[in-house]
Amino acid sequence: MLNSKVPQGPLAEKWTNHKNSIRLVNPANKRSIDVIVVGTGLAGSSAAASLAEMGYNVKAFCFQDSPRRAHSIAAQGGINAAKNYQNDGDSTYRLFYDTVKGGDYRSREANVYRLAEVSANIIDQCVAQGVPFARDYGGLLDNRSFGGVQVSRTFYAKGQTGQQLLLGACSALSRQISKGKVKLYNRHEMMDVVVVDGKCRGIIARNLVTGEVERHGAHAVILASGGYGNVFFLSTNAMGSNVSAAWKAHKKGAHFANPSFTQIHPTCIPVSGSHQSKLTLMSESLRNDGRIWVPRKKEDAQAVREGKLRPVDIREEDRDYYLERRYPAFGNLVPRDVASRAAKERCDAGFGVNETGEAVFLDYASAIERYGKTEANIRGLENPSASEIKALGTEVVKAKYGNLFDMYKQITADNPYETPMKIYPAVHYTMGGLWVDYNLMTAVPGLYAAGEANFSDHGANRLGASALMQGLADGYFVLPYTVGDYLADDIRTGPISTDHPAFEAAEKEVTERIQHFLNNPGDTPVDDFHRKLGRIMWNNCGMARNADGLKQAIADIRALREEFWKKVRVPGTATQYNPELDKAGRVADFLELGELMCVDALAREESCGGHFREEHQTAEGEALRNDADFTFVSAWEYTGDPSEAKLEKEELVYENIELKQRSYK
């Protein structure tokens, strides 16, 4: 039975009390304890740096050539923190409440409260490290708003907040590397976790340059290996982002929680053709000022699609600002799941605006005008002309979103200052992940999961700018305490020997799988299978799901998996740099995970957050939760076949928040 180990006591005091009561390891003993961290994104880098700083010997692994390239770097919009610098009524409780509500009441109260509680410290920490956040003219930190909230609590560094935070965390990591407290293994991939006598005691890793398979022992292992959005093939994830580390942990006894909870981000650049290898996000921050619309008349939409009508020529009264119409209270800043479904609804109804019919407009014309007028007032211009206002407004928009607009122009060859951008939802983030208790430990003792790799804080839908917050909270402020509590038992253990039969068996399995790929007499490249899997997932386990589709998807994935093992062709050898071989291993794991996602989506007979079951909706087409039967975390235990996974339920208890139908109207 899973035990979430949430401490007793009032919500606001749980974390403080817990920190005061858990065990510490004295500095001399820390020097004889080894910790492995897999992944060097925000969660991994911050955890590795913090644990090393405390005195543990840390080994950090990343498959990229440098820790600074982990995909946290691509986060654009910002990071939330309950600082209330804007004096708009923000507080720890409000951030907690917004996050639980935004997650459609499917997250653990105590974890979310802790996240909100430590959020303010993250900003202090980052500023102290020299992270160049945006500032106002008074020299103080600037904020902006994100979806699903009514305050401005998002800190940002233009459109590249992720890169700046990651460089900050990596600088802390670099400092520890220079001291010899962290040993970095770049271009290494974790191939398996090793469990000895019921405890996680190390990993098997592969040097991607030499192909060498290595054993690494440790007293505890932290997986900060990110999310699994690439199961859809097309997503905003980096090409290398994968589920393998988490999936291997799952196969070794860690439960996989809420695997079907996927975030489809509403503002991405639409698919342009079959050659496409990935999708590009346009930051949610653009919804601060941009207005989303489609033509009100179908014939106008048709004419736009055929290139006969320019969007700027459609009159105001012939435009349907459908988010403002359906959700007047939150307008364009509704949460991501709501915005995505609304875009799909309009496009399915025939109002899509690009060749494929799968795009809506994100329009900056009124923001440019509004900012232009303000700027004209500031400069004391009397009766400015429309073109003067536009020029002034364009400058303001350029300063705020310039790099995002440039990126859009680069990819689409359209100028978003002159014509509305076209956007469509795309897979972006996975709320599901390894089940962890309050201490972020998985069901395997000594094996932890942090950041996007765990399931803990976002319920069924993540709010914008909360992923960066969670990654750094886990790494800087949670794990350094909770891992120590576990390691207090290991002060007399001594170094972990990698000669144990468990290491030998794990290494053998890894080597055999590699040899299988290389010797397989197939003829089809890995990407072919990945693309097919992606299509099955997007069509049946994407923005809308139903029982028939999910059952079909499960059958299709099983057939595809069988075909994969028979027909995949992996060129090259195991002793040199071989990216096709790396990809084959990752896709093999996606082919199992995809099935479990469908199994999970099928079992959850309700709609909540990003999980929308067509059978469960209100008359207005909104998600219809079933709190009586589904207020739990679905934690799946591996039994040898994804379809036979055993479901364990962690009941969610809400003592501080009343469960309500989520409304943004």
Binding site: Q64, Y85, N121, A128, R135, G273, K278
Partner: protein, 249 residues
């Protein structure tokens, strides 16, 4: 469109390497350069040949992993873009395109177009940080106001993605633009002041140790930098380095 690719193939650091010719056909102008390479690799795998190894990850211009020298230019003909953001509409039907790895002594080739850039990481490890513990018990983030102009300039320096285009472009394979961007970011912020002189000395020493060349103020690095890092940073670093040297720290 149909293109002829001349691609550098090198089996490992010890291999001599050579250019090989590959025709590709039916390339859409909407493809990114790397998607065009995907098409070629797909074909090579189907034909039972060794696909071309190249570095790439985010494919949205921010991770700094992609690194191709295309027609004699780092990241190809575009300005302000990485290879992954270069689109095939920059080329025309019938073009011959030359694709090579970053070439620099400090960036040894791993395979084909993949080079080892860990020298950059070691330069950062030598001092590219503020020595503050991660306890979170620092002062409130708004305690020290930072003039917007300084914060913006620090940010501009901090936008460097560490791709190495500056090194690849420089005739001396100098890393001055990369190193100066990091030095500048921290030199422009109050948090970076206590270690300012020590930092610049250590980072420059490490840069020299890694075998990067000297700067002769040609400015090619600034032109090819996908993030538009300014040469001003190099001037600032030189000034800081001189100050630190004179003080004998």
């Amino acid at each position: 469109m149909n293109l002829t690719l001349k691609v550098w193939r090198q089996n490992g650091p010890e291999d001599k390497g050579r250019m090989e010719t590959y025709p590709v056909s039916d390339i859409s102008e909407h493809m990114s350069f790397l998607e065009m390479m995907d098409v070629l690799n797909d074909q090579l795998v189907r034909d039972g040949k060794d696909p071309i190894a190249f570095d790439h990850d985010c494919r949205e211009g921010i991770c700094g992993m992609c690194s191709m020298f295309i027609n004699g230019e780092a990241h190809g003909p575009g300005r302000g873009v990485t290879t992954c953001q270069l689109h095939m509409r920059s080329f025309k039907d019938g073009d011959t395109i030359y694709i090579e790895p970053w070439r620099a002594q400090a960036f040894p080739v791993i395979k084909d177009l993949v080079v080892d850039r860990s020298a950059f990481d070691r330069v950062i490890q030598a001092g590219g940080y503020v020595s503050v513990n991660t306890s979170g018990n620092t002062i409130d983030a708004n305690t020290i106001p930072i003039p917007k102009a300084d914060a913006d300039e620090a940010f501009n320096a901090a936008t460097c993605i560490g791709c190495g285009a500056c090194v690849a472009t420089c005739k001396n394979a100098s890393a001055m633009l990369f190193v100066s961007a990091k030095v500048s970011q921290l030199a422009l912020l109050p948090q970076g002041q206590p270690e300012r002189e020590l930092r610049v000395k250590r980072m420059v020493e490490q840069m020299d140790k890694e075998g990067f060349g000297n700067c002769t103020n040609t400015g090619a690095c600034e032109v090819e930098c996908p993030k538009g890092i300014s040469l001003t940073n190099i001037a600032r670093m030189n000034r800081d380095y001189l100050t630190a040297s004179l003080k004998g720290e």
